[in-house]
Symmetry: C2
Subunit: 341 residues, 2 copies
């Protein structure tokens, strides 16, 4: 099987020779070829210029032969296109202004034809470059996570969004609805441009207590995943820090549920249901260990993944700068070895 | 029932008129009377001088009438007494040096008679002040959490402790064993001085994947809880971010399992077992909502807690600065109202 066929089959619950594998943040600072591009360009230039975004998206495919490439971009392009400019002066995002009131929500723009054209153009170019060899994953930040940034800016105290949640829930809901519309707009265009699947990153989803997740997240994610399906796309939902929310995030209706590394994959499968497709879930920091140990850990995760209807091998959180390529190679070797068993 | 009797009965699974209530970080910056003391003294002075620690421990008891007081101190007193000096120049801890090698582990001191006398003296004074009216909770940081600080200093990247975990696990185990000995020493003396129970704070415990938790945490926590029982004390174990680890943290053998707010209390009880005592688990940020809503949320948690053999009402994470006292009052009112049902 070729990577693209394997990835699509796994997401559709059809038989595969082995789990497909790609890694969150597989393009990035741990790669010398990425740092060489980064030395010449700002982070924002890299995702805004399609030829640069394409190049760094392809770098880890050339080096490791992953089954899927993921568009190099940033989740904050959506709030930015809605009127919340952001800069990354030293890595972390800094916003020119943030959202606090109903009037702020109403002042946001809707996306329209031409919005985020740089990303759509990169998706189309990547589709041509990857052909049938390698799948292409598009993505967006999930509305709650985008709301955290839109409200808190670069802070991670969460006090302002929590204040809205508990004291002015309708303002938060209005913001989430606007973000949901924008995310759907963006994902539809990524699918039309050639993304085989889209991943929704709910990096701060674990910041909600279960009842808050039910009220603020579930209905909007259901709307998104229904729209992705209607557009002919496949969907993956990743809730970071969501070990207490697995049943609820699985109920949002994505094709695959991406599991973070705080729970064993086997236990996660029992909780979301063996009839579901799962993705995950190796601790990315485990790649710093000796390669033989990395292989053993990856093999154990492949084994647990067999209990589900389908499994896409991945890390349970993005790769971090400094990750040794020997660790990534050992991981890929272990997943490939599953083909022979 | 008086608060002390109610708290002890709940921890022992005996009948109570209503759940006892205390709140993590119930003494602190959200109280004007605390800020008045803090304006005159550094944070370190406040926990090192027994008369100041006693005063701020008692402040929330006077104001809200909680069933238990918790010693005002800091989890970093243990590594400090072992030879890792710490300062708090702007809130966060800064260490003079940190632990990276086996030699660094061996250079640590054991606690001995006289170590942490300021805290033991405060416990004894508090016991006299509280009498039979109010229970007294002592505490220590759990060894893994203390290891995070000992290794990372004030950083929260976790990269160095993760590197040790995956590449040099024996150095990490040696450090954890030293910290476990020190924690047991400290808890025994708190119990002897009059603490009715001790809480182990594993603030960073959720930073371990399940297999790491089993290897690095479980055996050491079992040793601690056995020692607490042998000393005639009662124990509570709080793993922050531990929604994926509930069954494993419950298996460590504490009298009560403290649940964070990322999971519903009802679901947590099903996972740890209805025969267990639980503590928790209101989102402390929910106290910023309207008082009527705070009461309703607290009442729902009281209701869920009835499914367990015993329930100590608490927040699922420490109170934050700025928490309105109207919110705390509403919470206490709702828990007290359970007596009449």
């Amino acid at each position: 099987m070729r990577g693209r066929e394997r990835f699509i089959a796994a997401l559709e619950g059809r038989p595969v020779d082995r789990p497909p594998v790609w890694l969150m943040r597989q393009a990035g600072r741990y790669l010398p070829e990425y740092r060489a591009v980064r030395a010449q360009h700002s982070f924002q230039e890299m995702y805004r210029r399609p030829e640069l975004a394409t190049e760094v998206t392809l770098q880890p495919i050339r080096r490791f032969g992953f089954d899927a490439a993921i568009l190099f971009s940033d989740i904050l392009v959506v709030p930015e296109a809605m009127g919340l400019p952001v800069e990354f002066p030293e890595g972390g995002p800094v916003f020119a202004h943030t959202v606090h009131t109903q009037a702020d929500v109403e002042a946001l723009h809707d996306l329209r034809e031409g919005s985020l054209a740089f990303a759509i153009e990169a998706v189309a170019g990547l589709r041509r470059a990857l052909g049938d060899e390698t799948a292409l994953v598009g993505f967006a930040g999930a509305p709650y996570t985008l709301a955290v940034y839109s409200i808190e800016g670069g802070s991670d105290s969460f006090k302002e969004i929590k204040r809205l949640e508990y004291a002015e829930p309708r303002v938060l809901e209005a913001l989430l609805d606007r973000l949901t519309d924008a995310v759907i707009f963006f994902l539809r265009r990524q699918i039309a441009a050639g993304a085989d699947a889209v991943q929704l990153f709910d990096s701060w989803g674990g910041n909600l207590a279960p009842d808050g997740f039910e009220r603020f997240v579930v209905p909007r994610m259901r709307r998104i995943f229904a729209a992705v399906r209607e557009a002919g796309g496949r969907s993956i939902y990743f809730v970071n820090g969501g070990a207490g929310l697995l049943e609820r995030s699985a109920a949002c209706g994505s094709d695959a549920v991406s599991i973070d590394w705080h729970v064993t994959l086997g236990e996660a499968i029992e909780r979301v249901g063996r009839d579901r497709i799962v993705q995950g879930n190796m601790d990315p920091l485990a790649l710093f260990g000796p390669p033989a140990q990395v292989e053993a850990r990856a093999a154990a995760i492949v084994e647990q993944g067999r209990r589900a209807r389908g499994h896409v091998f991945n890390v349970g959180h993005g790769l971090v700068p400094g990750t040794p390529s020997e660790g990534v190679e050992a991981l890929v070797r272990a997943v490939r070895a599953a083909e022979r068993r």
